[in-house]
C-alpha cells in the first residue's frame, strides 16, 4: 500500500487553496477535480456552513425551457466535526490530486477524479489529531461490514439520472482513522440501468483498489503533460498560473463521444452547464493542440446538433444552419429572454436572438481543429455539411443595397455594450470567412456552382468597415460618430464594467467597449483582415476597452505580443492568467472561467510564440517579454508531439517526424530530434 506520507509536492506544480473561510467557495472552484465525464468541487470533507459541494456529469441536464445540469450525490462527506485550525489543501497539478495536509505527523489526505477511468473517483481521508478534540461531538465513524467494506448508493434526478455508488473501508491506527473511499459515478438521461452499471463498475474498481487506481491516474496525467508542457524561465508565478490553466482545460473534456463544455466546465454551478462561444473559440482550439481527441469530441457536440441548428435557421426564415448563443442538451437556444441588471431592473436579454456570430465561430472551430490535427476526415460528412450550412445561413442573412454591397443588420458583436448594430465588423468578416471557406471546400453534391458563386460574390460584397487610409476597422456602422470616450476617462482600473458605472444608455452612446471586437478578427482570422492593420486597430481599440469581460485581457495580451509589444502584453497576460486564482471578477465561486484559461494558453502560443497552424504548415514568430528567458510549450501537431522552446534569440523545435515550419516567414525543415532556428534580437 502506498503511504500517503510519501506525497512529494513540487511548488512549481502546486497551487495552494485559500484557507480564509470567507473564500471557501472560491477554494472549492480552484481545487475542483474533473475528467471530462464527472466533476467534483474541492469542498471540505467535514460538513459545515458556507460550503457549496457539487458533483456534475457532462451533458446531464434537466428542464426544458431552461435546462440546468443535474447535481449528483456528494460522495466526499465524512461525518466529523471541522477542526478549529483549517487544514491546508494543495492542488497537485502534475499528479492531478487534491492533497490535504494534516497537522504534525498526520499523513496527508488525497482525493482524485480518475483521468484513466472516467467513472472512477476516490479519496483517502486521514482523521488525525486535528479532529481528535472535536471527534467527541460527532458519532464514531462506522466500521465496514464483514469484509471491512461499507457500500452506499445515492442517486439524484427524477429518473436517477446520476448514480454514485461508493465502497468504503475504515482502518484504525492507534488514535488515527483512515477512511478510504472509492466512488463510481454513472450519469445519463436515457433509459439505461445506471444503478446496475454503477454496481458492476464499482465492483471492478474495488477489485483494482485505491493504490492502483491512484497510480493509473498519475500515469495518465504524466502522459497528458508530455504533450502539454508549459515552462517559463524567469517567471515562476506565471509558469504555475499557466499550468493551473492547462490543468483545468485538460480536465474539462475527454476524447469520447461528444463533449459540450460549459463556460465553467465541471467546476461550478454558474450558467447551469450551458455552452457558449467560449467553447468553440477559446477551449476547442487549445485542446486541438493539447488533447486532439477531446477537441474532436467537442466538435462532435456541435455536429450532432446540426439538425437543431437547421431548424433554428428555418424558424428565423433563413436557410442553412444557425447555432444557438446558449446551448445545452438539445441544441436549441436556451438563452434566457430577460434578466435583472446591475441597476436592479429587469431588462430583455437579446443575445439569444441577435448575437449571431457564433454560427461562424462554430464553423471556424472545425477548420481550426483540422489545421492543428490534420484530421481532414472531419471535413467529410456532417463536419463538411456544418461548414456548408453555416455559409448558407450567412448567404440568406445578408441584405444587398442598391450599390451592390452586402450588409448584416441588427446584430450584437462580441462587444455587448452596443446592441442591435449594423455591419458589426466581427460578424461580417467572420461571415465572409465562412462563405469563402465553404466555397473553397465545396464539391459537387455540397452545393451547386451557382450557389458557390453566390457565396463568393456575397463575401466580396460584404461591408467590413475597413478604412484603407488609416487601416482601422469601424466596429459597426456609426461607431465613429459615438462619444469618443476612453476607458481611462471612466475608471482607472484595468478591468471594469462600464455599463454598471456609466449606465447602459451612456455606454451605448460612447465608444468605450466591453472587450475585443474588431481585434477578435486579428486573433481568429488574421488573414481575413488587411495586412499590417493590427497595430492601427490595437492603438485605436485598446484604450477604448474596459475589459468588462473575462475574455478580454488574454486576447489583448496575445495581440500585443504579436505586435512585438510583449512587455506591454505581460501586464494583461498576468491578469488573465491569475483571473480565477485572484478571483478578479468576484464570480470564481460559481466555477472557473475556462475561456480565460484557454485565452491564456492562446496568448502563450499565438501571442508570445506567434504559433499558428495554417494551410501551408506551422508558423512561429516568437516575441518574449524581457523578464522571460525562455518559453517552452509542448503540443500536438498533425499527429506528433512538438516541443517548442523559444528564447530572445532562437527557437528550437523538437519533433518525432520531419515537417516544415515557418519561422518569421522563412520555411525550414524540422528533423526528428531538435532543430534550432536563429531569430535574432527583437527587431
Amino acid at each position: 500500500m502506498t503511504s500517503t506520507a510519501s506525497v512529494h509536492l513540487d511548488p512549481a506544480w502546486t497551487v495552494e487553496l485559500p484557507t480564509d473561510p470567507r473564500l471557501e467557495r472560491v477554494a472549492e472552484s480552484l481545487g475542483a477535480l474533473s475528467n471530462g465525464y464527472v466533476g467534483t468541487r474541492a469542498s471540505w470533507e467535514e460538513p459545515g456552513p458556507g460550503a457549496t459541494p457539487l458533483v456534475v456529469v457532462q451533458g446531464v441536464y434537466a428542464g426544458r425551457d431552461d435546462p440546468q445540469r443535474i447535481h449528483g450525490p456528494i460522495w466526499t462527506t465524512v461525518d466529523v466535526a471541522r477542526a478549529t485550525e483549517p487544514a491546508r489543501r494543495l492542488l497537485d497539478l502534475r499528479g492531478g490530486v487534491l492533497v490535504r495536509l494534516g497537522t504534525g505527523d498526520d499523513p496527508p489526505s488525497l482525493r482524485f477524479v480518475s483521468a484513466h477511468r472516467p467513472h472512477a473517483m476516490a479519496m483517502r481521508f486521514e482523521i488525525g489529531s486535528e479532529h481528535a478534540a472535536a471527534a467527541g461531538t460527532r458519532s464514531e465513524i462506522a466500521d465496514g461490514g464483514d469484509d471491512g467494506r461499507r457500500i452506499t448508493e445515492a442517486t439524484s434526478g427524477c429518473h436517477d439520472e446520476i448514480v454514485v455508488r461508493t465502497s468504503e473501508r475504515v482502518t484504525r491506527h492507534g488514535a488515527r482513522v483512515t477512511v478510504e473511499r472509492i466512488a463510481c459515478c454513472v450519469g445519463g438521461t436515457g433509459p439505461e440501468d445506471r444503478r446496475g452499471e454503477a454496481t458492476e463498475r464499482l465492483a471492478e474498481l474495488d477489485a483494482i483498489g485505491f493504490d492502483r487506481l491512484l497510480a493509473e491516474h498519475r500515469t495518465a496525467w504524466a502522459r497528458r503533460w508530455e504533450s502539454a508542457t508549459v515552462s517559463i524561465a524567469g517567471d515562476p508565478e506565471m509558469e504555475r498560473a499557466c499550468r493551473f490553466a492547462v490543468f483545468h482545460l485538460l480536465a474539462a473534456a475527454r476524447g469520447n463521444g461528444e463533449m459540450g463544455v460549459g463556460a465553467r466546465g465541471l467546476t461550478g454551478r454558474a450558467y447551469g452547464g450551458h455552452v457558449f462561444w467560449d467553447a468553440d473559440v477559446f477551449v476547442l482550439p487549445v485542446l486541438a493542440a493539447l488533447d486532439p481527441p477531446a477537441a474532436r469530441a467537442m466538435l462532435e457536440y456541435r455536429i450532432r446538433r446540426l439538425p437543431a441548428a437547421r431548424r433554428a435557421a428555418a424558424r428565423s426564415g433563413r436557410r442553412g444552419a444557425r447555432f444557438p448563443w446558449e446551448s445545452a442538451d438539445t441544441g436549441d437556444d436556451v438563452t434566457p429572454r430577460s434578466g435583472v441588471n446591475a441597476h436592479g431592473r429587469r431588462v430583455p436579454i437579446l443575445t439569444g436572438e441577435r448575437e449571431e456570430h457564433i454560427t461562424a465561430d462554430v464553423a471556424w472551430s472545425v477548420c481550426e481543429y483540422v489545421a492543428w490535427t490534420g484530421d481532414h476526415e472531419v471535413l467529410t460528412g456532417e463536419g463538411r455539411a456544418l461548414v456548408m450550412d453555416t455559409a448558407r445561413y450567412w448567404s440568406s442573412r445578408c441584405e444587398m443595397d442598391a450599390d451592390g454591397r452586402a450588409h448584416i443588420r441588427g446584430v450584437i458583436g462580441p462587444d455587448e455594450y452596443h446592441e442591435l448594430v449594423d455591419d458589426n465588423a466581427f460578424t461580417n468578416v467572420m461571415a465572409r470567412w465562412n462563405l469563402r471557406r465553404a466555397a473553397a471546400g465545396a464539391t459537387l453534391g455540397d452545393a451547386t456552382a451557382a450557389e458557390v458563386g453566390n457565396w463568393l460574390r456575397l463575401a466580396d460584397a460584404l461591408v467590413d468597415g475597413h478604412d484603407a487610409a488609416t487601416g482601422r476597422y469601424e466596429q459597426f456602422a456609426g461607431y465613429w460618430d459615438l462619444e469618443p470616450l476612453m476607458a481611462a476617462d471612466v475608471h482607472d482600473a484595468e478591468m471594469f464594467a462600464a455599463d454598471v458605472l456609466l449606465g447602459v444608455e451612456r455606454t451605448r452612446a460612447a465608444q468605450v467597449i466591453k472587450q475585443a471586437d474588431v481585434l477578435m478578427l486579428h486573433h481568429l482570422v488574421p488573414d481575413e483582415v488587411a495586412s499590417g492593420s493590427l497595430e492601427a486597430n490595437l492603438d485605436h481599440y485598446l484604450p477604448r476597452t474596459s475589459h468588462g469581460s473575462s475574455l478580454s485581457p488574454a486576447v489583448h495580451a496575445a495581440l500585443l505580443a504579436r505586435a512585438n509589444r510583449a512587455d506591454e502584453a505581460l501586464t494583461l497576460f498576468r491578469t488573465a492568467a491569475r483571473l480565477d486564482l485572484d478571483d478578479r471578477t468576484g464570480s470564481t465561486a460559481g466555477g472557473l472561467h475556462l475561456a480565460t484559461m484557454g485565452g491564456t494558453w492562446q496568448a502563450l502560443s499565438s501571442g508570445f510564440l506567434g504559433l499558428r497552424a495554417l494551410h501551408d504548415g506551422l508558423h512561429l514568430d516568437p516575441h518574449l517579454p524581457r523578464p522571460w528567458r525562455t518559453l517552452t510549450l509542448s503540443c500536438w501537431y498533425h499527429g506528433q508531439i512538438l516541443t517548442i522552446r523559444a528564447t530572445h534569440h532562437d527557437v528550437a523545435i523538437t519533433c518525432e517526424h520531419e515537417f516544415t515550419a515557418f519561422v518569421r516567414g522563412v520555411a525550414g525543415r524540422c528533423v526528428p530530434g531538435r532543430t534550432t532556428f536563429q531569430i535574432g534580437d527583437h527587431p
Binding site: 502546486t14 497551487v15 495552494e16 487553496l17 485559500p18 480564509d20 470567507r22 473564500l23 467557495r25 472560491v26 477554494a27 480552484l30 458556507g50 463556460a263 454558474a270 450558467y271 457558449f276 434566457p336 434578466g339 435583472v340 441588471n341 446591475a342 441597476h343 436592479g344 436579454i349 443575445t351 475608471h491 482600473a493 484595468e494 478591468m495 471594469f496 464594467a497 455599463d499 454598471v500 458605472l501 449606465g503 475589459h547 468588462g548 469581460s549 473575462s550 475574455l551 478580454s552 486564482l581 485572484d582 478571483d583 478578479r584 471578477t585 468576484g586 464570480s587 470564481t588 465561486a589 460559481g590 472561467h593
Partner: protein, 285 residues
Amino acid sequence: MTDDDQPTESLDDRRIVAALAPSATAPAVLLASRLLAEITGADVAGVHVAERDAPRSPSVDLDALAAEYGVPLDVLSGPVEAALVDRIGRHGVVGAVVGARDRLVGGRPAGHVALAVAQGSRRPVLVVPPDLDAVSSGPWRRVLVPLEGTLETSDAVLDAFGSLVVVEMRPVVLHVFTPTTAPPALDRPSRDLDVWGDEFLARHAPAGARIEHRCGVASDEVARACHADRADLVVLSWSQVLAPDRAAIVQEVLRRSPIPVLLLPLQVVDAPTVEAPPVGVGPSS
C-alpha cells in the same frame, strides 16, 4: 462591571425603551415599540423625560396613551438626551425606540433628540418616522439591509441583529455598486450578478437573505429603496459619527425613509478592525 457590560440573561429580562414625548408622533413610537418587541421577544418600557420648561398641559396625555398600548411609563426629569442615553444603557435593555422628529410633516433631518440618542447609545436604536401608523400594521418580517461589503459593517449587522431578533425575518440585502465595489467583469451580466450576489450573501449577510443591486450614489439609492411596500424596516450599521462627510447614508435615510430605521452601532471606535477580502479579490498562491 457596568450595567452596559452585564449580559442579558434570558428573554424575560429583555426590554425595549420607548422614548416618548407628548406630541402627535407618540403613537408611532408606541406602535413601533410594540412591533420591535414582537420580533425581539422583549417587553416595552416607556420613558418620558420631562423638561423643566415643558408646558403644564401638554397636548397629548402620555399616561393614557401608554396605557392604551399596554406600556408602563416612567417619567424622568433632567436633560432629555442624557437621561435617555443613561436609561437605554441599563442592564436588560436590548434596544430603544425614538421618534425621528416631533412633527408629523416630514422631509427634515431627524431631530436633535433622535440623533443624540442614536449617537450616544451603544444599543440598537430604532428611529421612527412620525407617520408610521399610517403605513405599517405589522408584524414586521421584511427587513431591508443595505450592506457595503466590508467586514466591519457586515459583522455589526450579523452580530447585533442576530442577537436582537428572535423570530425568522425575511432580509433583503441591498448593495449599491460604486466604482470600487462594482464587479470588474460581467460576462453574462444577469447570471454573473447572481453568482456575485450569492457570494456576497455568503460572506456578509444573514441566513436566508436575498440580494438586490443598485448603481449610483449609495445614500440616494438606499433612501429610495426604503418603501413600505418593500420592507417593514431598514437596518443600518454605523460609526455613530455624524459629520458633513460621514454617515451620508444614515443621514439621507433618516431624512427620507417612510419606514423605521434601526441603527446598529459598530464596535467601539478604537477596537482593532479586520479587513475581509472583498468579493472580487481573493489571492491564492
